[in-house]
Amino acid sequence: MAIASNETAVSNSRFIQVLIYLTLLLFALFYLLPFGIMVLNSVKPLAEITGGNMMSLPVVFTLEPWAKAWSTAQIGVEANGLSPYFWNSIKMVVPAVTISTILGAVNGYVLTKWRFRGDTLIFGLMLFACFIPFQIVLIPMARILGLSGLAGSTPGLVLVHVVYGLGFTTLYFKNYYQVFPTELIRAAQIDGAGFFRIFWRILLPSSGPIIVVSIIWQFTNIWNDFLFGASFADFDSQPMTVALNNLVQSSTGVKEYNVHFAGAIIAALPTLLVYIVAGRYFVRGLMAGSVKG
């Protein structure tokens, strides 16, 4: 993962170095443990969990909890497992990520290369919108979705996520395009290219890295969202996170912990995979939104 590496000039005694390694390893354990335990216990039969030690290796190794979590677990009134909700999430995430990324790209392009009076204010307004507590828009959004017939539907959720993700994607692309020299645009203007051609032929082809950052960041945020899913989706369109919560919070009957764990891991897998494969871009996204410069 690429955080600029610059070897520090500080040097330590042997003793301190050992202490440092120890601390770091302890923390690594701290971070790995909860998730590791979930994985471990998701392949045990229920009896082993309730009767045994969460930290012990499975005596009987079974994938049954996984199958159950995916296709037969009781969630709300349905007993189809998490799979329908997995697809709900996909149906919601893909359009939302695509639209917010495209809008973010052209917005960033306009705000850096086609400056006009008041554009900083406009950007400030869009940026601030990222940071509001979403509780403040829940009520009106529920009303508008209801009035426009989008309540409880996937397109409604897509709209919500696009609107509230726009500020971040615009921020990423703006910071990225800022670095391209204005003379590039001028040369293209003299050559006869207009607004869209300059974007399509010159800026976009060089935008690979930031497009990946935007997609990853949006994907992670939207996939992991719970509040909007819980507020604006009904049973048909509930995303994965809401379904998982329903599964886990069910108070009737026997608590099938192993199924819960399997379900949680299924819910976490997409974003985890993205993180493992493209973690470098994930970090860039985090940094772009926070550290100065």
Binding site: E183, R186, Q189, D191, R201, I202
Partner: protein
């Protein structure tokens, strides 16, 4: 009929006026250099000619057409930028032909034009590379290729050599000059380097604070600067400007300055017209190469004055030695051949070629016209 006509051009940003009523006429085939310190408005003026910035008032005509408000791509101009501005994702070939592509030129013609230009600039072997793989000098040539291929009415250069190292800069300067001699396209060239201005141009516009200080041939600018700014900006080392007084020697005017010990030195002035300034203070302008040792003085000069003065420092520079002395409490630089024996803190006899002397009004800093 001038080819490029800038008429009464003014540029304001809000209430701040940065260019004031610029009037320049450029004939076809001329190489006009806009030179001046940063902030003088030369790049702004260039952008206005290109159409990248609007003109607040006044007119710009190119080849007889009024260009106010016309989009840059429709002015039949081409521009080379300081940072080259090559499209990073395209190959050299694509970079060069992009403009033609945008104007709807069919592929076979584009390729022919590209080949011609690549040959002229000797970048044939680079056509498939991307800008990131090229050296500074190669990028510069590709940028020029992109401009050349359009066969425009006017070439515009915006400090194209500033990003190159010294040696490369000299080489490219020569290439630009050769290209201009061959193609004879009207060119407007912006630089802050006065040597580029003097060597490349047919005419120079010296700019300062949004005004054209002087418009003339390199010789005119060098020998008869319009004011103190032009005099000290052009030429390196700068022209010496020495506060002096006009005294009469009989009925012929003389310039009187004080040497390092305060003693007055009288230098006979060539033009009798200066008598009008009798007993008044003026600024004497004399270039370092006009102050030499006695034998080194220009033999064709008609009015050479000599005087003795204390040498402050000497700077041997290979082909010449620069000698600094004090006149009227001011550091004055003289230039002489390097084999002259001259030592600091010793007295030395200097010769001044007063044919080359100019005088300025101390108040307005304008040159006093005496013809």
């Amino acid at each position: 009929m001038s080819f490029l006509k800038i008429e009464n051009a003014t540029k304001s940003y809000g209430s701040v006026e940065v260019l004031h009523k610029i009037d320049i006429e450029v004939q076809e085939g001329e190489f006009l250099v806009l030179v001046g310190p940063s902030g003088c408005g030369k790049s702004t003026l260039l952008n206005m000619i290109a159409g990248l910035e609007g003109i607040t008032s006044g007119n710009i005509h190119i080849n007889g057409r009024l260009m106010n408000g016309v989009h840059p791509s429709k002015r039949n101009i081409a521009m080379v930028f300081q940072s080259y501005a090559l499209y990073p994702n395209m190959t050299v070939g694509e970079n060069i032909t992009f403009g033609l592509e945008m104007h709807g030129v069919p592929k076979p013609e584009r390729d022919a034009a590209m080949a011609r230009v690549a040959n002229m600039l000797q970048i044939d072997q680079l056509l498939d590379r991307k800008p990131g793989q090229l050296s500074g000098g190669q990028r510069q040539r590709v940028a020029m290729g992109r401009a050349l291929v359009r066969d425009p009415d006017v070439f515009l250069f915006d400090e194209p050599l500033s990003n190159l190292d010294a040696k490369l800069r000299v080489d490219m300067r020569t290439e630009i000059k050769k290209l201009h001699q061959k193609l004879k396209t009207t060119t407007v060239y912006v630089t802050h380097d006065q040597i580029e201005a003097l060597t490349l141009s047919t005419r120079i516009a010296v700019m300062h604070r949004g005004y054209v200080q002087q418009l003339g041939t390199p010789q005119e600018i060098y020998d008869s600067p319009a004011n103190v700014f032009v005099a000290t900006f052009m030429g390196s080392p700068a022209m010496n400007i020495i506060p002096a007084q006009v005294v009469m020697a009989g009925d012929h005017p003389s310039i009187e300055v004080k040497d390092s010990s305060g003693k007055p030195v009288s230098l006979r002035f060539s033009h009798p017209g200066l008598a009008k300034w009798k007993d008044r203070e003026v600024l004497l302008g004399i270039r370092p190469e006009a102050i030499t040792d006695v034998e080194g003085a220009d033999r064709k000069a008609q009015n050479v004055q000599t005087f003795t003065n204390l040498v402050d420092i000497t700077e041997p520079a290979g082909s010449d030695t620069f000698v600094t002395m004090t006149l009227c409490n001011q550091a004055v630089i003289a230039r002489m051949r390097s084999d002259i024996v001259v030592a600091p803190e010793q007295h030395f006899e200097f010769a001044v070629n007063m044919d080359k002397a100019v005088v300025f009004d101390p108040q307005s800093e304008d040159r006093i016209q005496l013809d």
